[in-house]
């Protein structure tokens, strides 16, 4: 077995992106994947025969345009956008749809509140401007406080570029809003529960708490920054499921010369005299490389792939303090037909199916989301869960056998550790609660279910290597952001071990199928190897 310039642990999308960039720069690269397929949390699996299920991650719009362009993904992957960003059925049988087009959304909102309809354009214009700065930060390598270098300052000036365009007033608005609860900023602009629920749901979708929590305005802005459509979330599907996207990234990486081995689980990273030397596979095989890049989450990297007994106490304390706390179960349903939503009973078939092709949000108010969170705070799953639903087979008929449909639900909130019982015994009960909730909006849902598959947080952990079931490799919260992600002193994709880098969602700018951590890590690795 030959030696490599770089070994990348984990063929999730970020690992593949790093591999591609390193290979493109002429490095001899090997990617090692524990599972039999590439993609990590962004995979397509035939959980039900004939159905192409995006098991964990969906939401395609987030992928970085830079990666899309560099890997020529547009010619190899077909993404199908939805004109609607969110379909939000309400308990009273009405519905609110957020369209890409502001004018259409304003009309929708006007049915709930004239004042909110007036406020909406101003609000999204402000959020777009602020999200621009958050988005620009995403591509930066964070500085290493307190040792800020001139290089960092140049980077900071780059960030200030978009910041400067904001103007003084908006910069102070950004600084005011970032640490706020999403609920507070939404309450400043809107009065209708439906409107606030529709927009605010995204502040809580990726975190374990509700919109009343400080810092959720940042998570909302982050989602806004990544959506790629100027609105608070992306909407659309990858033809063939999320796995098709990672397959295309993998093909491009191979095209650049990277080698990818599946069914090759890494047991440990070899370290000698403070330098990474390669990896040892669970099979016992030893592989040597100048550079080892871990796309595993930081807890796995530091506590399992490295020997924690040889790490400094401060580092162990910081790693132990990383909050994971996954809180969303994934529930996949094979449906015999499209469900009938009460709120669409008078809509035409085309209109109904167009709306259901958008992400469906069961989050009729901020209080509803907060109450759903309250349950998990005390160790129970939500009795009225907040649901984020997609039916990819509407936009991509190949996702399900003809005439049938695939529904994937992210159901919140469930605590990773239940106060009573465990997820093996409780996930069915929670899935029943989820379906009962959904039946309040789409009464025929139960009659349509042919098969169902529930992934609890422990399932996400054991199958997909996501500690505590958090798909983001650590909560996307303000204290785990930028130079504090994954931990202070390790935010520049480098670690305290020479030649060992991190490239996964545990690094800045975090989770979502963006490819940005992988892209930034490759940039830093190449920068180091030139020196």
């Amino acid at each position: 077995m030959g030696n490599y310039d770089a070994i990348i642990i984990g063929a999730g999308h970020n690992g593949l992106v790093t591999a591609g960039y390193l290979a493109r720069a002429g490095r001899k690269v090997l990617v090692l994947e524990r599972r039999g397929l590439v993609g990590g949390a962004a995979v397509t699996e035939e959980i039900f025969p004939g159905f192409k299920v995006s098991s964990v991650a969906d939401g395609v719009g987030y992928l970085s345009p830079t990666v899309r362009r560099d890997f020529k993904l547009d010619s190899h992957v077909e993404t199908i956008d939805s004109d609607m960003i969110a379909f939000c059925p309400q308990p009273d049988g009405s519905q609110l749809t957020i369209h890409r087009e502001t004018a259409k959304t304003v009309q929708e909102i006007a049915r709930f509140s004239k004042a909110d309809a007036d406020a909406y354009p101003e609000f999204i214009e402000l959020m777009q401007a602020l999200a621009g700065v958050v988005g620009a930060l995403g591509h930066m390598t964070p500085m290493d406080l307190p040792e800020v270098t001139f290089g960092d300052l140049r980077g900071a000036v780059r960030v200030l570029g978009p910041g400067r365009k904001l103007g003084r007033k908006r910069i102070s608005e950004l600084l005011r809003i970032l640490p706020m609860p999403a609920a507070d900023i939404l309450n400043e602009y809107f009065e209708s529960g439906a409107v606030k629920g529709a927009i605010g749901a995204n502040s809580s979708l990726g975190v374990s708490f509700g919109p009343q929590e400080s810092g959720t305005a940042y998570t909302m802005l982050n989602s806004w920054a990544l959506s790629g459509n100027g609105l608070f979330r992306s909407a659309g599907v990858v033809k063939g499921g999320m796995g098709a996207l990672c397959d295309a990234i993998a093909s491009a990486a191979r095209g650049f010369g990277a080698e990818i081995r599946t069914d090759a689980a890494v047991a440990s990273i070899s370290v000698e005299d403070g330098r990474a030397m390669g990896v040892i596979l669970e099979s016992g095989e030893e592989l040597i490389a100048n550079t080892v890049v871990s796309n595993a989450d930081p807890r796995t990297t530091f506590m399992r792939l490295l020997d924690p007994r040889t790490l400094g106490t401060k580092l162990l304390q910081h790693v132990a303090n990383i909050k994971y706390q996954g809180s969303g179960l994934r529930i996949h349903l094979a449906l015999s037909a499209l469900p009938q939503f009460t709120s669409l009973s008078t809509a035409s078939g085309d209109d109904a199916s167009a709306r259901l092709g958008a992400p469906i949000q069961i989050a009729p108010s901020l209080d509803y989301i907060e109450r759903a969170y309250d349950c998990s705070k005390f160790g129970r799953f939500s009795d009225s869960p907040f649901l984020d639903i997609s039916i990819p087979s509407i936009l991509d008929p190949s996702a399900a056998p003809a005439g049938q449909h695939l529904m994937s639900i992210t159901a919140k909130y469930g605590p990773y550790e239940l106060r009573e019982g465990n997820w093996d015994t409780q996930k069915k009960a929670f899935a029943d609660v989820v379906l009962n909730t959904l039946a309040e909006y789409a009464p025929d849902i139960r009659n349509l279910i042919q098969q169902r598959h529930v992934l609890s947080m422990p399932d996400l952990e054991s199958i997909y290597g996501l500690p505590e079931g958090n798909p983001n490799h650590g909560e996307m919260i303000l204290n785990q952001f930028f130079h504090m992600r994954p931990i202070p002193g390790h935010a520049r994709y480098r670690t305290h071990i020479d030649g060992l880098y991190l490239c996964g969602a545990g690094c800045h700018p975090g989770g979502g199928v963006t490819g940005v951590p992988g892209h930034n890590a490759a940039r830093e690795i190449l920068k180091d190897s030139k020196q």
Binding site: M303, D307, P308, R309, T310, L311, G312, T313, K314, L315, L316, Q317, A320
Partner: protein, 399 residues
């Protein structure tokens, strides 16, 4: 609220002046007699009994118990086997002292750590990857120390084990007054002595049985003043005096490394990883130690001379002191170089001894500098010479 220890019914009855101080949240006797010198004399001539219950105690059990403590403390525990004990300090990642205490190898896969400060979190933070369980038994175990030349003979009357076979810094399970205990031949006085870990419910019984023998062995209950005087003679370090825990310092300058603290001998720098090893290796290799901790003897004739300037007879401190006293390179006090951290007139040695923190170039035996002494509100420079520490190290300690 400061709490009584399980010995309090007994110790409070003996505490003539009700002089107490706070030791990690517990009431600890400052002195039992009105003159602490009698307690000091007891430790050196008979023996003293101390209530050391406020020490924090942790049981570390499991196949990796020794490996975890080896990672945590600076000292090489490799020769350890059941029955051994070690005094050690431990450091943070920067090689700065966090705390000191004892490691007792009680049985296969079972070690006990005692510490001055609470250490449960520190143990847990360091335990990643080790197959251990950690239990805080600070309240489930209390302790007495019996220290001094007659301590062994007294303890013999109370226990079933052969104490002459128990070597310095060794420990053994033992019945004391038919109650299960762990006896360790260790202490904080630099003398022949024992520390006994007992269950709280047995505390009064054991105390009473020991005190019943006190007249025969010239034993006295002793407080913290006598403890401080004896530990200074023994050259033993005290937290918040010779060092501040790196966990509690506000500024880097307040931290101190084992190499600076005079316990470099216990750091196994060429061995396996322990917390702070790499920083200490660097400090040693680069010679970046800022301090050395040494024993110093003051020239008392100068003190006498300065008293005579006020037509006063020589007056020496009756007890030990624990505050920073300036040390100068020169008599004119223009070059401040260090500080005395604790000191005392040793009634036994008839010497004025000081533990001092000085720059490395003054470390050698015989180095001379000046310590500030205030007499009648006027400062004087007293010549001081670096001497061997411990100041008092009787053969009986290890015999």
């Amino acid at each position: 609220m400061t709490r009584p220890t399980p010995f309090h019914s007994r110790t409070s009855a003996l505490n003539e002046g009700q002089r107490w101080e706070d030791w990690e949240g517990f009431l600890a006797a400052t002195m039992y007699s009105l003159d602490p010198l009698v307690e000091y004399n007891a430790v050196r001539l008979g023996c003293g009994i101390f209530d050391v219950s406020p020490l924090h105690k942790y049981e570390v059990r499991g196949p990796d118990a020794q490996a975890l403590l080896q990672r945590m403390v600076v000292r090489n525990l490799a020769p350890s086997r059941p029955g051994r004990g070690f005094y050690t300090v431990w450091c943070d990642d920067n090689g700065k002292v966090v705390d000191d205490g004892g490691v007792f190898h009680i049985a296969e896969n079972h070690l006990r750590l005692t510490s001055t400060l609470p250490s449960l979190e520190w143990l847990i933070d360091n335990s990643s990857g080790f197959d251990v369980t950690i239990e805080d038994v600070s309240e489930e175990l209390v302790g007495i120390a019996i220290q001094g030349p007659t301590s062994r003979d007294l303890l013999r009357k109370l226990t079933n084990v052969d104490l002459s076979a128990l070597k310095f810094w060794h420990c053994t399970d033992a019945d004391v007054c038919d109650r299960p205990t762990l006896i360790s031949r260790s202490g904080y006085t630099g003398d022949l002595g024992f520390e006994i870990f007992v269950r709280p419910e047995d505390a009064e019984k054991i105390w009473d049985s020991a005190m019943a023998l006190a007249p025969d062995y010239q034993m006295r209950p002793c407080g913290l003043v006598a403890l401080d005087m004896t530990r200074i003679e023994a050259g033993l370090l005290q937290i918040d005096t010779e060092f501040i825990s790196a966990k509690q310092t506000l500024f880097e300058v307040q931290t101190i490394s084992p190499l600076e603290l005079g316990v470099g001998w216990m750091c196994k720098l060429d061995g396996d990883y322990f917390v702070g090893r790499d920083a200490l290796r660097e400090e040693k290799a680069n010679g970046t130690s800022r301090w050395k901790t040494v024993g110093v003897e003051l020239d008392v004739t100068y003190i006498e001379k300065y008293f005579s300037e006020f037509a006063m007879p020589l007056h020496l401190p009756e007890r030990s002191w624990n505050e920073a006293v300036p040390i100068y390179a020169d008599e004119a006090q223009e070059h401040l170089i260090g500080r005395g951290t604790s000191g005392m007139w040793s009634p036994l040695l008839k010497k004025y001894i000081v533990i001092a923190r000085i720059p490395p170039q003054y470390e050698k035996l015989g180095s001379r500098f000046f310590i500030e002494e205030v007499i009648e509100a006027k400062t004087f420079s007293i010549p001081a010479t670096v001497v061997k520490m411990p100041f008092f190290d009787p053969p009986r300690k290890k015999a």
